[in-house]
C-alpha cells in the first residue's frame, strides 16, 4: 500500500502527518511502541524539512510518501531546500549534565536511533530525498 501527500511548509501539518503515519504503522502490523518510534522519526524529519529546509515558508511545499507492507513501513520525504545530508551529522552528547548540555540537535539522532535504515540523496535538479524504513521485530 502507498499513500502520497503534498504539504505546505507549516508546522500545523505535523498532526496530520502523525495520524497518517500511525495508520500506516497499524496496517503494517507494528506494535504500539514501534508505531511510536516511526511517528517520532517521521515527525522529526518533516519538522526539519519545514523549519530548516524550507524556512517555514508556507508558499513552498514538500512531499511525503508512506509505503507499507506487513512488518515494514518505508517513508520518503522530498523537498528542494538547501542541500543537507543528515546522515553525516555527528551524534549529540546525551550524557552531559543539564548545565553543560546543549539544547537541540536531537531530531536526527532520534531518526537514526529509531529507524532501521536512513538514506539521503539529492538529484541533479536539487530535489532532496530522505528515505527511512522501519522493520518489525522478526522481519529484520
Amino acid at each position: 500500500m502507498q499513500q502520497s501527500f503534498e504539504f505546505p511548509a507549516d508546522t500545523a501539518v505535523l498532526a496530520k502527518i502523525g495520524e497518517a503515519t500511525v495508520a500506516a504503522g497499524r496496517s503494517a502490523g507494528f506494535t504500539e511502541s514501534e508505531i511510536g518510534d516511526i511517528q517520532l522519526a517521521v515527525d522529526e524529519a518533516c519538522t526539519n524539512t519545514i523549519m530548516h529546509g524550507l524556512k517555514e515558508d508556507p508558499s513552498r511545499t514538500f512531499q511525503v510518501v508512506l509505503r507499507w507492507a506487513s512488518g515494514e513501513v518505508e517513508i520518503f520525504i522530498r523537498e528542494t531546500g538547501d542541500p543537507f545530508d543528515p546522515t553525516e551529522v555527528p551524534q549529540p552528547d546525551i550524557t552531559a549534565a543539564l548545565e553543560d548540555r546543549s539544547v537541540g540537535g536531537l531530531g536526527i539522532y532520534f531518526i537514526k536511533q529509531l529507524m532501521d535504515e536512513v538514506k539521503y540523496r539529492i538529484d541533479e535538479k536539487g530535489m532532496k530525498t530522505l528515505y527511512m524504513v522501519k522493520r518489525g521485530a522478526g522481519c529484520r
Partner: protein, 113 residues
C-alpha cells in the same frame, strides 16, 4: 495544545493536553514564561494527556529547566508521561537530568523536600 494550571504551595502544576511538537511548543513556552514573570519558580509539567512529544517539546523543557536552575534556584519536573513519551525522555538522556515522577502529587512533593 490545551494548557491548564493549578498552583498549590507555590508549585505550579501545568497540565498539557495534546501533541507537544514544533507546532505547539511555542504556546507551552509562552505560558510558562509568563508564569515565571509572575514570580513562579517551581513547575510540574503533567504529561498524562500528552499523546506525542518531539524534540521541539524537549527543547522547551530543557531551556526552561536550565533557566530556572540558573537564575531563580527554581526547577521543573515531569509527571505521568505515557510510555511513548517516557521513551523519548529516555533515549534523549533527559531522564538523567530532570526528575520524572509517576504522578503530579508526588512530583510536587519532591520540590517541598
Amino acid at each position: 495544545m490545551k494548557i491548564t494550571e493549578n498552583v498549590q504551595n507555590n508549585v505550579s502544576r501545568i497540565f498539557l493536553d495534546g501533541r507537544f511538537d514544533a507546532n505547539t511548543c511555542g504556546e507551552v513556552e509562552q505560558f510558562i514564561r509568563k508564569r515565571i514573570d509572575d514570580g513562579m519558580h517551581y513547575f510540574v509539567l503533567d504529561m498524562e494527556n500528552v499523546s506525542f512529544i518531539a524534540s521541539a517539546g524537549l527543547r522547551v523543557v530543557l531551556v526552561i529547566a536550565k533557566e530556572l536552575r540558573n537564575t531563580s534556584r527554581g526547577d521543573l519536573c515531569i509527571a505521568s508521561p505515557q510510555p511513548n513519551v517516557r521513551k523519548v525522555f529516555e533515549i534523549s538522556g533527559i531522564d538523567n537530568v530532570l526528575q520524572i515522577h509517576e504522578d503530579v502529587e508526588r512530583a510536587a512533593k519532591g520540590f517541598l523536600q
